[in-house]
């Protein structure tokens, strides 16, 4: 760790900002993880819808809770669409949140870099 001879003193305020940045960064990664999981689910639902189109109009078995429920193709289609809409909304909301966090992080970065220059590192390793 090279010592910077004239590194600026760290004030309580700076520390609070660094802490805030740390929190945001953690939160950012958590949300990214959630989005990834939801996107996977959304794709699965889409696959299911596509498969359903190829089905021959028989009763389908819809995984519901811990059981498979027998239902008509139309009902299954409806349920899939509803689920799809819900998860897509969730994704949009999460992505909005992600953007807000990014913005806050960028703001803090500017402040902290302008004070500490290259004696602080806020980038991902």
């Amino acid at each position: 760790m090279p010592s910077a001879p004239n590194a600026p003193q760290v004030t309580k305020e700076d520390q609070d900002q660094i802490n805030a940045f740390g929190r945001l960064n953690n939160h950012y990664h958590e949300i990214q993880g959630k989005i990834k999981a939801k996107k996977k689910y959304s794709e699965d639902l889409e696959d299911a819808s596509n498969e359903l189109m190829l089905a021959d109009g028989d009763i389908v078995k819809y995984s519901y809770g811990f059981v498979f429920v027998h239902m008509s193709e139309d009902t299954a289609e409806e349920k899939l669409t509803a689920a799809q809409e819900e998860v897509d909304q969730d994704i949009t909301a999460l992505e909005g949140e992600l953007q807000d966090i990014r913005k806050n992080m960028d703001g803090l970065k500017t402040t902290l870099y302008s004070k500490f220059g290259n004696t602080i590192n806020l980038e991902e390793e």
């Binding site: 910077a4 740390g22 059981v67 027998h70």
Partner: protein, 180 residues
């Protein structure tokens, strides 16, 4: 499924911020101070991983509760339609059998844990499960608060360690410069 886990696991005092390293280090040995900081750092790190674990456990519970709610909702829906539902349910791992649920099924049994199942009406079951879900999410939120506190402490300690270390290096450098 009733969860009443400890509300606040963190009982450690908040980490104090070092205002002025010069003043703080007066009459102190850098090695000792660094050792103390390191020790605190370890304590908080341990706490962090414990919190993360128990949060992951609770996060894993929520989908289960949601599944149960879904199922009860299906039963409620069925009550207002005239159809009976046919389901395949799991008898044992990979063994499924067919069952039909008639209209007029008003009760479900909820597994409460400790080998106890209790019969509830559909509405009651729905209410209870939803309350469980709220509790679980509340618990997770509490954990998040604790985690934030612990992470702030960790960051503060990291910064403190770096500052004390740098202070020491500069002290030595100026001592060397002075003796030459």
């Amino acid at each position: 499924m009733a969860s009443s886990e400890a509300k606040n696991m963190v009982k450690l005092p908040p980490v104090e911020f070092i205002d002025d390293v010069d003043k703080y280090m007066k009459d102190k040995k850098p090695d000792e101070v660094l050792g103390q900081l390191q020790e605190k750092f370890q304590t908080f790190k341990l706490l962090e991983s414990r919190l993360l674990q128990s949060r992951a456990r609770m996060l894993g519970k929520v989908p289960h509760i949601e599944k149960a709610i879904e199922m009860v909702m299906l039963l409620v829906e069925k009550e207002s339609s005239s159809e009976q539902i046919t389901v395949d349910f799991e008898l044992s791992d990979h063994v499924y059998t067919k069952a039909t649920i008639n209209k007029g099924t008003q009760n479900v049994y909820l597994w409460l844990g400790a080998n106890v199942m209790v019969e509830y009406s559909l509405e009651e079951a729905k209410g209870l499960l939803e309350q469980n879900k709220i509790n679980a999410n509340q618990n997770i939120a509490n954990h998040e608060k604790d985690l934030n506190f612990v992470r702030d402490s960790i960051t503060t300690l990291e910064v403190s360690m770096a500052r004390v270390y740098n202070w020491d290096v500069m002290q030595r450098a100026s001592a060397k410069g002075g003796s030459k």
